[in-house]
Symmetry: C2
Subunit: 334 residues, 2 copies
């Protein structure tokens, strides 16, 4: 490890990716790229939590089918989600029967999954790692804020939890973009306590990790075609660019935020999308497609962010600690 960054020598690749998203999400750019665009955000289930789990299961299953690798040949399933005790991941693991390591990094769970999957594959410990996560607007609202039935109004700084899931298989065998290095984030807390303003809370963590990555790798932001954050939203995206600028690093030319691009701009999403499913669905469909297609996008730094709060910590007057893990994904290398 150099600073906070690990380097992979054996070219672990994202050999397959899949995503599913809800109807509101698919009205935007995701609709063209996901494997399944839901017309009903209940996905035929009776509860929001079961719908969330079914999306995660779908993404995992679809990702394996696209690679032509059955669950029996996958060595490890790395997953977590926003629900208490990561039940979406655990129950999905029960269904697919793959040895399971639970992870939790709030909305940056996808980048933690990429990172650990790359380390386990690169080190020769596993041949195939499956990393996945997701979220559901209604289950997140019920757990973290208010039940939808209550009809509570949302403040203008709030974001909309993405209903969606994404999965990827990481392996040193096969084709696909390489994970060349990854930067493990430190927990950063700038003292924000407004649970409706996640973008402002998480932006300092994103800036901290992106700057650490550039320092550890000796790279300029222009090395990357895209620097992709997870779900900072409109306000958070401005803050992360400002914070980097204050440190003498200009990421404004190639920064893009999954939360900012996931929805069509209409009034009620306010700052954009959020949730573990936001970057999971965008990375494993839209961005993966750009990386593997002829778009000219060859190098992506994916730095998702997570807000590590709970209703109990906020209720006890704590501020919001945040983290961001960054994964360098490069295609077209020899």
């Amino acid at each position: 490890m150099l600073g906070q960054t690990v380097f992979f020598r054996n070219r672990p690749r994202l050999i397959s990716a899949a995503a599913v998203a809800g109807p509101k999400e698919c009205a935007g750019v995701l609709g063209t790229y996901v494997d399944l665009a839901l017309s009903d955000d209940m996905f035929g289930e009776k509860t929001f939590e079961r719908a969330e789990r079914k999306m995660l299961l779908y993404a995992a299953d679809r990702c394996m089918k696209k690679a032509g690798i059955p669950p029996q040949r996958i060595d490890v399933f790395l997953s977590g989600d926003l629900l208490n005790q990561i039940i979406s991941a655990s129950f999905t693991a029960r269904e697919i029967g793959i040895p399971f390591l639970g992870i939790y990094s709030a909305c940056s769970t996808m980048s933690e999954g990429y990172l650990l999957g790359a380390a386990l594959a690169d080190g020769g410990y596993v041949k195939y790692a499956l990393a996945a996560t997701g979220s559901h607007f209604a289950s997140a609202e019920r757990q973290y804020r208010f039940p939808l039935e209550q009809g509570t109004t949302r403040p203008p700084q709030s974001q909309w939890t993405v209903t969606g899931a994404g999965a990827a298989i990481i392996s040193c065998e096969g084709r696909g973009p390489c994970i060349t290095s990854a930067t493990v984030g430190k927990v950063v807390d700038f003292g924000v306590s407004d649970v409706n303003n996640m973008g402002a809370a998480m932006a300092p963590a994103a800036a901290d990790t992106i700057l650490a990555h550039l320092r550890d790798t000796g790279r300029d932001p222009s090395y990357y075609d895209l620097i992709v954050t997870g779900d900072l939203g409109a306000l958070g995206s401005r803050i992360v660019k400002d914070l980097a600028w204050e440190k003498g690093v200009d990421i404004s030319a190639n920064h893009v935020d999954c939360g900012e691009i996931v929805y069509k701009v209409i009034e009620d999403e306010f700052q954009g999308g959020s949730g573990a499913g936001c970057s999971a669905a965008v990375m494993n469909s839209y961005i993966y497609d750009k990386l593997t297609g002829g778009s000219g996008i060859r190098r992506v730094l994916f730095a998702a962010t997570g807000a590590l709060l709970s209703t109990v910590s906020s209720g006890q007057g704590e501020t919001i600690p945040c983290v961001s893990h960054a994964v360098a994904i490069e295609n077209g290398e020899a």
Copy 2:
């Protein structure tokens, strides 16, 4: 990976371990071995959650001090806990400032931490990994069952969540017992839905992983001086031995359960201890001492178990999926 088991080539070692436990726990065997025996289970804090976090911070800090390694030299902090969104781990990570990967495996979080720490150190990705977890009786009761103030009676099949925490540093440099291999558990669900009977729910997962480990390594149970489960309790321990016996494997001669040995046998703990802190405190004090002292205990298979339920999943009528990760720890090897 052979079957579900990864093997480590570069001798990652548990170079330091530390533990702290509450007064009830320290009335038993733990009292002699932990680094700090609390006389007040609030640890001077105002809330149960803050007391839990302070124990985790103490264990992590003490472990680093014993090794003479400051936080700045630790590459990664692997931690999780039972509280929603693993706030004990996240807030501890904020305090110590080490790059943080959140993990969740309920009461088997300690063995997942050992496993991932060993893989990251063995693969050369990190020099020092710090793995830690803990739990608190009162915060667990309040979150999973009933607030203590309610004075609810407990059924005879229930266990008592351990108030305690443990931490270890894993590195290929230094002295200490080696982590030679680790078996990643599959999620196993035998259909138990009684949230007061965790031992019965988790025993099949422990049996599944222990048998997979013995199969993958070609070993007989007698290879190990101890086969240590995490918190199956009295009933669960009988079940795991029965389940293994049914498959033709007798682990009764060397099986021991942290939950069964943690308390002095008095009436109100019923089946024994449970919680992420149970095996964390026992392994990182009592068992670590036996492994590094002249006790004759040289080979230990540590198979902690976790029940991957939440109050929401149980409330929606789900049964309890469980997992167990096994870590082989050997001392006295060349």
